[in-house]
């Protein structure tokens, strides 16, 4: 073990540490000393970081820490390995973001060992949340040909705008998909994810205005006070793996619509193209044209509380009646597989013969739409008791484009 280190982290004469199995790590550019990473740090030793691999299989499904793992075992038979490097992560952020390199090297080493058992890295899928996304990127860089990497809200500080060897990037695996739930700039909004990573990009709920809860509710969001406080500190940031977890159980509940921006998504980019929309989360690799385009931005909305999947419909209502009124119009969809709540289509001045169109993110997939129900109400009392109806209602389903 070779260990040379300039003691002042700001001095940064280029130094290097080497560890058996994993190789050498320098604090040269681009790892330190750039505008994005000003503080010089060397990664800690593997012994100090103490990365541990916890295996869960169908036979041995005792639920330890990662809920996603256990949920995955309900839909398929896989070897789920939870990588714990908490000793290397519970330290200064600048240090933790350099320890990422050692943990990534450990995973790459493990994949190499699997190779000796003729287990192809193409069978490996690494899911990393926050800093862990860059761990996955590091592992993928060291061991080319890993099947898939999923970055759940990759951490932003110390990684945004850095060269691709530092951060998660599309070259790190054969297929890389990223879920963004927290892309506001770190200062002042304390967002913590990375914008320009790679391939399939999912932005949930316009990525900034995620439905957050007020302080008390967030702190008590579940009976488990621990998850409650976690939600309060990083409600947006932690949403990404909750979406992933839900997407395992609801394969078609998280369709991403390719669009230029969230504002455009709110008014257009509907329905899915003939090839279908990519699924956010677990089933993203099913998307047929997945590697044809290098950078696809996909947008979708999710529900504000548990059971996050939503199914997008476009509803147009042509009004009939005699007088103009002020109020709102609600529509509920009914189909083979149940019905939805009432969703507001329009609020304001309602003119007969006008057509009002809106997107409805329904909490149920109703199947083939058999009927719709229309309801309106006026916002102020109107003693003339006006009547209003819907002449035609058109419903288009986002997944298939069916009208």
């Amino acid at each position: 073990l070779l260990y040379i280190w300039s003691n002042n982290p700001f001095l940064g004469s280029s130094s290097e540490v080497c560890y058996d199995r994993l190789g050498c790590f320098t604090d040269d550019i681009p790892w330190s000393g750039t505008a994005e990473r000003p503080i010089y740090r060397l990664p800690w030793s593997p012994e100090k970081i103490d990365a541990q691999f916890f295996l869960h299989t169908k036979e041995n499904g005792n639920s330890y820490q990662v809920r996603t793992n256990v949920r995955m075992l309900t839909v398929e038979d896989v070897n789920c390995i939870a990588v714990s490097w908490k000793k290397g992560a519970r330290c200064q952020y600048t240090q933790a973001s350099n320890n990422v390199r050692v943990v990534g090297a450990e995973i790459a080493y493990f994949v190499n060992v699997l190779d000796q058992y003729s287990y192809s890295p193409a069978n490996v899928h690494i899911i990393g949340h926050s800093l862990g996304a860059h761990v996955a990127g590091e592992a993928g860089k060291r061991r080319p040909g890993i099947g898939r990497i999923t970055g759940l809200d990759p951490a932003q500080p110390y990684f945004q705008d850095t060269p691709i060897e530092v951060r998660l990037d599309k070259s790190d695996a054969e297929f890389v998909d990223v879920i963004h739930t927290d892309t506001a700039p770190t200062i002042p909004n304390l967002g913590s994810s990375l914008l320009d990573t790679c391939c399939l990009f999912f932005f949930c709920y316009g990525n900034i205005a995620l439905p957050t809860k007020d302080l008390l509710s967030a702190a008590l969001v579940s009976i488990h006070l621990f998850t409650g406080t976690k939600d309060f500190v990083a409600c947006n940031h932690l949403r990404s793996y909750k979406y992933y977890s839900d997407s395992i159980v609801y394969p078609d509940g998280f369709l991403g619509y390719a669009c230029g921006s969230y504002d455009a998504f709110k008014v257009s980019c509907f329905p899915c193209p003939s090839g279908g929309c990519p699924n956010m989360g677990h089933y993203a690799d099913k998307f047929k044209g997945k590697t044809s385009d290098s950078f696809v931005k996909l947008y979708l909305n999710t529900a504000e509380a548990k059971d996050f999947p939503l199914w997008r419909y476009q509803v147009s209502v042509k009004l009939s009646g005699s007088t103009k009124v002020t109020g709102y119009v609600n529509i509920a969809l009914y189909g083979d597989d149940g019905n939805t709540r009432q969703h507001q289509i329009f609020q304001g001045s309602l003119k007969p013969d006008n057509t009002y169109t809106a997107f409805v993110d329904a909490e149920h997939k109703v199947g083939k739409v058999t009927k719709v129900k229309f309801l309106w109400n006026n916002s102020v009392l109107n003693p003339t008791l006006p009547k209003l109806g819907a002449a035609t209602v058109t419903v288009q389903f986002g997944e298939t484009g069916e009208v």
Partner: protein
């Protein structure tokens, strides 16, 4: 004289716009998932809890074919009342109204295809 009057009008309008109810409230106008004591606090109009010991949170009202309870004076529900236009097919009972358990299923009175 005309200019100050216009100015006054403009400031009034700005003040009105600023004073308009915000999207998210702290005591009233609460979103789904936020803690509540009374249904009147919620945007959805239903403050719901799962059991007598659990915390109450704002929840959406029950859609057609979902479970519901009759409107009660408590203002907190185990099962939310129905959305507007729908009725809850529960029968009113004294015990049920005291224990807040007048449960039913939402249905549409005017819909001939759904019979009670």
């Amino acid at each position: 004289m005309v200019l100050p009057l216009r100015l006054l009008l403009a400031t009034l309008l700005v003040a009105l716009a600023l004073g308009a109810p915000s999207e998210q409230g702290l005591i009233f106008n609460l979103d789904t998932g936020e803690l509540c004591l009374q249904s009147a606090q919620c945007k959805s109009g239903c403050c719901q809890r799962d059991s007598g010991l659990s915390l109450a949170r704002c929840s959406p009202k029950a859609a057609e074919t979902q479970d519901c309870s009759l409107k009660s004076l408590y203002g907190v529900y185990y099962k939310c009342p129905c959305e507007s236009g729908l009725s809850c097919d529960a029968d009113w009972t004294i015990v049920g109204s005291i224990t807040n358990t007048d449960y039913g299923v939402c249905y549409d009175k005017r819909d001939p295809t759904t019979s009670r």
